[in-house]
């Protein structure tokens, strides 16, 4: 018997008025797999992500998470089912401290998430938030207002907040976007050190980041899946070269 995939997408489509942003996308991501989704700008990668995470429901097809149909569940319910995500442009709580950002992220999937009681110093969720901060190397900035962080630190926090709730499926939307050459390797190390049993889907523009990281690569264009294959074959696929590398002209 084959294991239930972490995600099963069947004929998933998303339309905004006259624009068909995602069309007929079908693929599975196995448990523990690391999948990269590549494609030029406007290929529908982020829309597909948002459809999986529940920002909006698909207009066609079904999405299953660990075998359960989640196509029409709201985002917060999907998060409680085990999806953690980052955003292409950091969506953080700028008015709160780094620790409070992570603390809020830790508690979102807990049963007592709605509480009027201020946590004590020895609160287990607060302690866990500090551990997460250490994992993403922000321990020295715990009390700093997030609005005052540098871009690189914001990206680290973005990943930290996605990890804080210990998701079973991690969705990373261009986590390295806008990072300097100094910051980039640090973030990559962070991603590579994530537990091997965590299922990860990664949207990435940069082949140098995506290919060493992924077990399988899915290439999208104009809202459709063009090809799904191993990184080695993708690198040598003439179609991929044509639609992706050909136009980008910089990555090998």
């Amino acid at each position: 018997m084959t294991q239930t995939p972490a995600i099963e997408l069947k004929n998933v489509g998303r339309r905004f008025g006259a624009l068909q942003a995602v069309r007929d996308v079908t693929f599975d991501v196995a448990m523990g797999e690391r999948r990269a989704v590549l494609g030029p700008n406007g290929a529908g990668k982020t829309t597909l992500f948002n459809t999986i995470c529940g920002d909006f429901p698909p207009t066609a097809g079904t999405i299953k998470l660990f075998g359960e149909d989640i196509s029409h569940l709201p985002a917060h319910t999907r998060a409680r089912r085990g999806i953690g995500r980052t955003y292409q442009q950091s969506l953080l709580f700028d008015g709160l401290s780094v620790l409070d950002n992570i603390f809020v992220a830790v508690r979102g999937v807990k049963l007592n998430r709605f509480s009027f009681l201020v946590p004590g110093r020895s609160d287990a969720h607060l302690a866990h938030a500090r551990d997460v901060a250490e994992r993403v190397r922000l321990t020295h900035l715990l009390d700093v207002n997030v609005g005052d962080l540098s871009h690189g630190q914001r990206r680290q926090l973005e990943v930290g907040m996605a990890l804080a709730a210990e998701p079973k499926l991690l969705m990373l939307d261009e986590p390295a976007a806008g990072l300097s050459p100094v910051e980039r390797p640090e973030l990559l190390r962070l991603l590579q050190n994530l537990p091997r049993d965590l299922t990860i889907v990664l949207i990435e523009h940069d082949m140098d980041v995506a290919l060493p990281f992924a077990d399988l690569v899915t290439v999208m264009k104009d809202g459709e899946v063009v090809v799904s294959d191993t990184p080695g074959r993708i690198q040598n696929d003439p179609v991929v070269h044509e639609i992706y590398l050909g136009h980008g002209g910089r990555k090998h």
Binding site: C53, G54, D55, P74, A75, H76, A79, R80, R85, Y87, L91, L92, F93, D94, G95, L96, D100, N101, F103, V104, A105, R107, G108, V109, R113, F114, S115, F116, L117, V118, P119, M161, A165
Partner: protein, 333 residues
């Protein structure tokens, strides 16, 4: 707590509280007895009472990013429930209840009404939220104004004298002042506590980024409605006090003017910290009372309008913002 008291904010808060507690003893030293009593009840007492209502608006605006114009109406819900149900009001509509029962009932009604406002407006933000809460407020105002059976229409309900406190009448300026101050301090401390709780942090998260809050597993709508409930509770407490302060309630006290006044107080004080509500309310009460001696009673709106403009032009985040900037300048020198 003791560490907090050593911070500049802690020291300033403790000093302000001490000053407010001693105010009834200080005022008679500065002015004749009858003027001191007037200042205590009609300037400071009133500022504290309306400050509570303004704080309910500031709580929603500062921590939830939700500017609601329904807060004065919610205060009115509590005031009307008390006026309708207590013994001795004129006219007596339901009557029969003591203040000990009617006041909690009024506050509960305001909280429930606020949850309803939260539910109705849950999908709106910014200008749309402002409009929908204004529409609800004006709907309630018109309903009250035209309904004779329950609200005695335009006349309203008089003779709501308030309970006696330790054998003293509520109308005594000292009683009015100290009761209002106690309620305000408790609610203020409650707000400062609440915004550090998980609920308060999530609410601030919703203000900054509702999409992210949902992606973390929180029900954004539920938190927003609960925030309205909390604000309704605060407004309800203020509404009960305001009704007793005014010895009754009429549609005029929840009309468009009263609704906008709460917003003006909040903006003058500063939408950035709950203390702004009381600063704004004090400035408002001062100008409202002394417009006649400063210029002309009938020119109050012009006067408060000018004060509003000057403060907003000088400091878009109100008196608090101004104080913060002055503080920063002083630290730099």
């Amino acid at each position: 707590m003791s560490a907090w008291l050593r911070t500049p904010v802690g020291m300033a808060s403790a000093a302000t509280l001490a000053l407010l507690l001693l105010l009834p003893a200080i005022l008679p030293e500065l002015m004749p007895q009858n003027q001191a009593r007037f200042w205590l009840a009609n300037i400071f007492g009133r500022a504290i009472i309306y400050g509570i209502i303004a704080m309910s608006l500031i709580f929603l605006a500062t921590y939830g990013g939700l500017v609601s114009l329904a807060q004065m109406s919610l205060a009115g819900v509590a005031g009307y429930v008390v006026a309708i149900t207590i013994d001795g009001a004129a006219p007596s509509i339901v009557g029969g209840l003591s203040y000990a029962t009617a006041i909690p009932l009024g506050i509960a009604a305001a909280t429930l009404a606020a949850l309803f406002v939260g539910l109705v407006s849950v999908r709106t933000r910014d200008i749309y939220l402002l409009m929908i809460t204004l529409a609800l407020a004006m709907g309630f105002f018109r309903f009250v104004e035209t309904n004779l059976a329950w609200f005695n229409g335009y006349e309203g309900i008089r003779n709501v004298l308030g309970p006696s406190v330790f054998g003293l009448p509520f109308r005594d300026p000292h009683v009015l002042y100290y009761v209002s101050l106690t309620v305000a301090v408790l609610l203020y401390a409650g707000v400062l506590y609440l915004v550090r709780s998980p609920f308060g942090l999530v609410l601030q998260g919703i203000r900054d980024n509702p999409r992210r809050v949902a992606a973390l597993g929180y029900n954004v709508a539920l938190h927003r409605i609960a925030a309205f409930g909390v604000a309704g509770f605060i407004a309800g407490c203020g509404g009960v006090l305001a009704t007793i302060y005014n010895i009754g309630i009429s549609p005029g006290s929840i009309g468009l003017g009263a609704t906008v006044n709460v917003l003006i107080m909040s903006v003058i004080g500063g939408l950035g910290h709950p203390i702004g509500a009381f600063i704004g309310s004090l400035i408002f009460a001062f100008f409202d009372t002394f417009a006649a001696s400063i210029y002309d009673r009938n020119r109050f709106n012009t006067l408060i309008g000018i004060v509003f403009l000057v403060i907003v032009l000088l400091s878009p985040d109100g008196v608090i913002g101004l104080a913060k900037r002055v503080g920063a300048l002083m630290r730099r020198d």
